[in-house]
Subunit: 229 residues, 2 copies
């Protein structure tokens, strides 16, 4: 999860046209001329793929943000991860996607045919290892998130979320969250009201500042870390 194939400095900058075999944005996967990549854009809330849909492509976010999630029949939703610029998502070993994916905001992705990746992995051990590394990264995130969902309090979950997002998308100390309170709740196993109340409390305690509901400045990361269980 959140595996960065792009060097951080490349995020948000102009990228080379796709299909360019000399481009190195695809990290260890670069230089494999057999990898066919294309670009595609999705509008806000547009589905990228559904749960259990055949997994034909692997995706890397050029700009935007994506949520991957599972639904129960009555509409309850668990978001497994948020994916930001540079992140790869949709990598599967089995036939189909086990979580659905939607664009949180307007999003542009690079697509790689899964078949071409597998072929590259079959001939180049470093590619195979890179794929394993990406899956292992997703597993690490999921293991941490199980602890959060099973055993942490609402405030601990929200503190953890803020520190995660601070690490992943803060620019010059400002966090511009792409997702709404309901998304955050569905990621943390809480309701949107509980998320809002926790944020309000942290605001009143001076731990964070708002400039609009989704622009957050962390003012006391140490305090936040002490709250994350």
């Amino acid at each position: 999860m959140h595996t960065q194939l792009l060097a951080p400095s490349v995020i948000g900058t102009k990228v080379n046209p796709s299909n360019c075999p000399t481009a190195d944005q695809f990290g260890l996967l670069a230089g494999h001329a057999g990898l066919i990549t294309t670009e595609y854009s999705y509008g806000k809330d547009e589905e990228i793929y559904g749960e259990d849909e055949p997994a034909e492509y692997v995706y890397q976010i050029i700009r935007g943000a994506v949520r991957t999630y599972k639904l129960l029949s009555d509409g309850r939703r668990q978001i497994g991860a948020f994916h930001l610029a540079g992140d790869v998502f949709g990598l599967e070993l089995g036939k189909s996607h086990r979580l659905a994916a939607e664009a949180i905001i307007d999003t542009t992705v690079r697509l790689v045919k899964r078949r071409s990746l597998e072929q590259a992995a079959g001939t180049d051990v470093s590619v195979a290892r890179k794929l394993w590394t990406m899956t292992a990264g997703d597993l690490r995130h999921a293991e941490d998130h199980m602890l959060l969902l099973g055993r942490k309090s609402a405030m601990e979950r929200v503190a953890n979320f803020l520190l995660e997002m601070d690490r992943r998308l803060a620019i010059a100390g400002l966090m511009a969250l792409p997702m709404c309170r309901r998304d955050i709740g569905d990621y943390l196993g809480l309701t949107l009201e509980t998320v809002s109340r926790a944020l309000s409390q942290l605001h009143s305690e001076g731990v964070l500042g708002f400039s609009g509901a989704r622009q957050i400045v962390l003012r006391d990361r140490q305090r936040l870390r002490s709250m994350d269980a």
Copy 2:
């Protein structure tokens, strides 16, 4: 998680001595003479490895049962998975184990040096693929478990647990659970009392029968499936 390298029929039967290069219990990893395997036994509640301890070995359960878990500083525990006979656990890509492991009951494992597995993976793409497959299996389980922990009710969690254990360890319709109610609670993100109450209710509804607290017979799997959200 729960990846079966052993054919089901082999589980619980006598296994060949380790270090035997012709043994096929190690599934796709067989035939790699470079794989050094040894056996080791752990008593009930004995630690196999701790969280963040260097990951030197990969383990396969010959007989017994293991829990892998994370702890918070105040003692709250989240069990990530239960591992039963035939299952492989402790496979890591990074330097260290991200969950601790303990024997639930007296347990014998086969150990494989992680270094030797990596070496085999470097020369044989089918081994590399098998390792990726095992990690991907663990990830699938974790993704399903996040939905359970984040969004399912107590009864839904217990129903899910019973169906999982029924599938994995029921013999002749009888489930002999190796773990206590507290372990089940820490796996499902519940207290042991809530687990006990859910089981009692299922018993009173005739969905299951007990012969001792840990010997369970499922009498209405269909009903249980309908309760699992």
